[in-house]
Structures are given as C-alpha cells and as structure tokens.
C-alpha cells in the first residue's frame, strides 16, 4: 500500500468517467421483457371484450345472465348462460369438497407432523400430481373412475359432473397444500413453543394455534383452488358431457363454461359469426370470475407475508 505514491491532496473521484449507454440499453431491454407480461393481460382483455361488446349488442346482458336456456348453435337460439354457470359451479363445489379438507390435511401434516426428511421427499412427490396433464386426468375419470362409481352403486351417467369434480379436486390438492403450508411455515415458532409449554398436544397446537395464525394463507389457497377449478377445461370436456343441462344433480352430465368454449372453438369458427362472439362472451364471464378470485388470493397471500415476515 505504502509503496504506491498517490497524490492524496486531491479528492479521488469515484464516479465513472463517462456514461455507459450499454447499461441503459440493457435495462431497457429487460424492462421490455417485463412489459410483455402486461401486454399479455391487455391483449387478453381486449381480445375478450371487443367481440363481447358486439355480442351484447345482439343479445341483451339481462337475457344472457338471466336466461335458463342455452342453445346458441340451434336454429331456435337461446342465450341464457345460467345452465353453463350452474354446471361449472357444481363441478367446482365437488372439487372443493375434495381439495379443501385434503389439501389442508396435507399442509398440516407437512408443516407440523412430518420429519424434515419425510417432508423433503413428500413435497416434490405431491407436485407430480399437479404436473400430470389434465387430459390424462380426463381419460382416467372417463375410463376408470366413472365405471368405478357405478360399481359402488352410484347411478352416474357415462358423462357426469361427479367424476369430473372428484378428479379436479384431487389434482388441486397440491395447490391448496403448498400455499397453505407456506403460510404455516411463516407462523413464528414462538407461538407453537408457547402453546406446547402450556401443555398443549400437537392436535391442539395445529388446530388452535397454527391454523388460525395461517388463516389468510389458507383462505388464499382455497380461493385460488376455486379459480383453478372454474377454469379447468380438459377434464370437463372429456367427462362432464356436452349438453347444456340446468341441474344440481352431479350424477348427470352438463356442459360447463369452459366445456362450451372448447367444444365450440375446436372447429374453424368464422370471425364475426354469432358462435364466435358467444365463445368470447362466455370466456369474458369466466375470465372475470377467475380474475376477481385471483386478486383476492394474491392480496391474502401478501397479508400473511406482511404479518410474519
């Protein structure tokens, strides 16, 4: 150090000698990448809204959202979307009955009961469930689950909402489990230690300390699961049936919103035709439903992060 003689009477300038334009260019390019995701959202909204506006010029929103008869492709056209919405809700409700308790159970097990090594192997193994393409679940529900339900004595049709809902429920278990478990992991250990110190059992700590403390994350996972179930397509296209049917009986088949979009959109639908516009009006309704739920879920996840981290 001392061997180098520097003129220390002058202050040393630490700024760069010249502006590096490359730095700005790089930042711009990266920001452009980020903007693409914004463009995607804008693109989705525009793509859905424009044909929907045309659709609602032909069919009044009151008839669309209040009507109970759906036959847009027949000569005698009716555009009541309620049968599609009800089918979607029936499938979603069944899926929720499966994924909510089971997903929460898995989360509690992973967070409070499993040893670290067990957890390290179980978590990725569970992800496999979420990684299997939904067309495969549809195949399974049609070929295996529906006949199995029949042998159990449940009087289901070849196409039915029950098998669709059950399978969707199982494939959503990892979604519920991983978000809930994240929230439980964020609960401070002090809270648990306090309860154990007072003589609580593991059951009590899990149900009275950890679950209430992690509730916003658990609710977020539930909301997200509902959103996923509403948007799930291939399973319902394969097993839920292709005819609009206003019923609450899950043993019957019924056309869901996603089912209608897929079924009708498969052919080369001419732009501007009433079929084309109908698809987009249904999709806009679907998107609005999932959008609201996604925002709720995102907000709830932020909430628990803010509290504990």
């Amino acid at each position: 150090m001392a061997t180098r003689t520097a003129d220390l009477t002058q202050p040393i300038r630490l700024q760069a000698d010249r502006r590096r334009w490359g730095e700005d260019v790089v930042k711009g390019v990266l920001a452009l990448c980020a903007v693409l995701s914004l463009a995607t959202t804008v693109g989705i909204v525009v793509a859905l809204v424009l044909p929907s506006i045309e659709f609602f010029r032909d069919v009044s929103p009151a008839k669309f959202y209040g009507g109970t008869e759906w036959s847009p492709l027949f000569l005698d056209k009716h555009f009541g979307v309620l049968p599609l919405v009800s089918a979607t809700l029936v499938v979603t409700a069944i899926a929720c009955l499966v994924c909510m308790p089971l997903g929460l159970g898995v989360a509690i097990y992973l967070s409070e009961y499993a040893r670290p090594r067990v957890r390290a192997t179980l978590k990725p193994a569970l992800e496999v469930l979420a990684g299997i393409p939904t067309v495969v679940y549809g195949f399974f529900a049609l070929i295996t689950l529906t006949p199995f339900l029949k042998t159990l004595g449940v009087n289901v049709g070849i196409f039915n909402m029950l098998a669709a809902g059950l399978v969707i429920g199982v494939l959503l278990i990892p979604t519920v489990a991983s978000i809930s478990e994240d929230a439980m992991a964020a609960v401070p250990q002090d809270l648990r230690d306090g309860a154990y110190g007072l003589g609580s059992s593991r059951l009590q700590v899990s149900t009275r300390i950890v679950v209430p403390a992690a509730i916003s994350g658990i609710v977020a996972s539930y909301v997200l699961a509902i959103s996923r179930a509403i948007g799930e397509t291939m399973v319902v296209v394969i097993v839920a049936g292709g005819v609009a049917n206003l019923t609450a009986d899950p043993r019957e088949g019924a056309l869901t919103m996603t089912g209608f979009i897929a079924q009708t959109g498969i052919g080369d639908v001419p732009t501007g035709s009433i079929e084309y516009k109908t698809i987009f009006a249904v999709a806009l309704t679907l998107f609005a439903m999932t959008f609201v739920m996604n925002l709720i879920a995102i907000r709830l996840v932020r909430k628990y992060r803010e509290i504990y981290e």
Partner: protein, 296 residues
C-alpha cells in the same frame, strides 16, 4: 389437560387417555389426506400402463393418424410436441429470465407500476389456459400477427402460458444469490450489468434451469389452448414452423373421443409416451438441482 380438576394436578408428561386417542385419530386423518393423492396417482398410472402397453409399438412412433386403429400412429403429434418444446424453451427462457432480472435487480418496489407488474404476473399464472387459447385465436392466429393455425402460433401461446411460472421460479433463484456477492463485485468497480452478467446469473443458473424445465413441462401438457388454435386436425406430414400441426395431448384427446375401444388403448399408449417425456424433463430438473445447486 383442561379437563382435569384444578385440585388434582395432572401428572406431567402423561396426557389423558382421551387426548391420546384424539391425537392419534387426527394423525390418522392427516395421513389419509396425504394418501388419497398417491393412491389416485398409482391407480391412474396402473390403468394407463395396462391399457396402453399393448399399443405401445413402433407403429405409434412411425405412422400418421388413421381411422384404422391398427395403422394409426402419433408421429406428427410426437414431433409436434418436441418442436413446441424447443420453440417454447427458446422464446420463454430469455424473456422470462429478462423479466425476472428486471423485477429483482432493477425495479424499485416503491413504484406503483412495478408493484402492478408483479400482481399482473401472479394473476397471469392463474388465468385459465383456455383463455390463452382465445388470445391466440384473436391476435396470433388471426388479427394482428395473422399467422394462421400453425406450429409457431401454438408455440407463442404456450410460451405466454409458461412465462409466469418461469418468471416466478427465476426470481426465486436470483433472490437466493447472496447480496455479499453483488457487494463484492461493486466494490471492485463493476457496473450493475457486469455484476448481474458475471456474478448473479452464473450463480442463479441452476435454479433458473430447474424452474425453466418445470415450466416447460407444464406447457407441454396443455391441451385446451391448442384445441382452439386448430391443433385438432389430421396432419399426415411431419410438421414445420409454418405448417398445420398437432400435439401429443391433442392427439390423446382425439383418440379418447372415438367410440372404438382400440382408440382408447392408443390414447393410453400416447399418454405413456407423454408421461415418459414429462418424466425425462422432471428427472433432468431434479438432476440439475442436485448436481449444481449451491446453498449459501
């Protein structure tokens, strides 16, 4: 326990019998929750393999689809899926990593637009995949880009689908790089991009690669958006970038819809191929993670 009267203190270290039973029952319920998923997974795999194995022969890989189940194959579909994989990887990784770098290294989180960007990406990850199909129908196949129902259209839409997942995992990988590495490089006079390019990115690559592969696996299994993009079509040739195309999940769906049981078998065989492909991808991701991931 709370049930014990105060005058008779409960012995320390021993719980009442009913509490023990309750605890045991709860543990059993939890284990049941864990088991359901795996039982169904096992059941599904056994079904698919048993049904598909008789049809898993060379015809499946060499022939094009046919109305005769003895001659029907999935060559264009398998090739279509492989091409889609490569295209999605080429498009999604640079854009996804770029976005992740912007959000982690450059974006000021106090700015509303950066927060909006983050929420937007989280929302995109949960938009139903069929909606992406409609986006493709309106703006890529027709509308602005007007590419038609070709392989590239499918690849663009699957890229958009894979991006949110890829961005989230890339951000995690970048965030895991300790700040001390950045500080060290800055102290030696590196510019921000030099720090990112020579220090942060190399350290984050294992995590990014793992996340990319998993996002790719998701995109490859997607069926619904491709249905809307004209992939449910008879393709008697090997697909090219601007030719009509089909993909393995779509081919599976088409065979499931046919009434003859032979086609169900073919569907099962195609599922085995698809799952095999996904297995390779996932195994690759796990290998990468175990081989290269460092903990700081």
């Amino acid at each position: 326990m709370s049930v014990a009267p105060v005058s008779v203190p409960a012995p320390i270290g021993k719980r009442s019998r009913s509490a023990q039973v309750k605890d045991g029952a709860f543990r059993a319920v939890l284990l049941f929750s864990v088991a359901v998923g795996f039982v169904l997974l096992g059941w599904l795999l056994v079904t698919v393999v048993r049904k598909g194995l008789p049809y898993l022969d060379s015809i499946l890989f060499t022939n094009v689809n046919s109305t005769n189940p003895d001659r029907a194959g999935a060559r264009p579909a398998i090739l279509g899926t492989i091409y889609l994989m490569v295209l999605v990887l080429l498009m999604a990784v640079p854009i996804g990593v770029g976005t992740a770098l912007y959000l982690e290294e450059y974006a000021d989180r106090n700015r509303w637009y950066n927060r909006a960007l983050e929420i937007n990406i989280q929302n995109l990850a949960a938009v139903p995949s069929i909606v992406y199909g409609l986006l493709g129908l309106a703006f890529v196949a027709r509308g602005v880009l007007h590419l038609g129902f070709v392989l590239l259209t499918g690849a663009i839409i699957l890229t958009l689908l894979a991006l949110p997942i890829l961005i989230v995992s890339s951000r995690e990988a970048i965030r895991a790089v300790p700040d001390s590495i950045r500080q060290g490089a800055y102290a030696l006079g590196a510019t921000q991009w030099q720090v990112i390019w020579r220090q942060v990115l190399p350290a984050a690559i294992p995590g990014i690669a793992t996340g990319s592969i998993l996002a790719l696996a998701r995109a490859i299994g997607e069926t619904a958006p491709l249905l809307l993009l004209g992939a449910l079509i008879f393709v008697p040739f090997d697909p090219g970038l601007f030719s009509h195309f089909t993909a393995l999940p779509v081919q599976i769906y088409q065979w499931i819809q046919l009434p003859q049981s032979e086609f169900r078998g073919l569907a099962a065989a195609a599922i085995v191929v698809l799952l095999g492909l996904l297995l390779i991808l996932n195994a690759g991701a796990i290998w990468l993670r175990n081989r290269y991931q460092r903990r700081w």
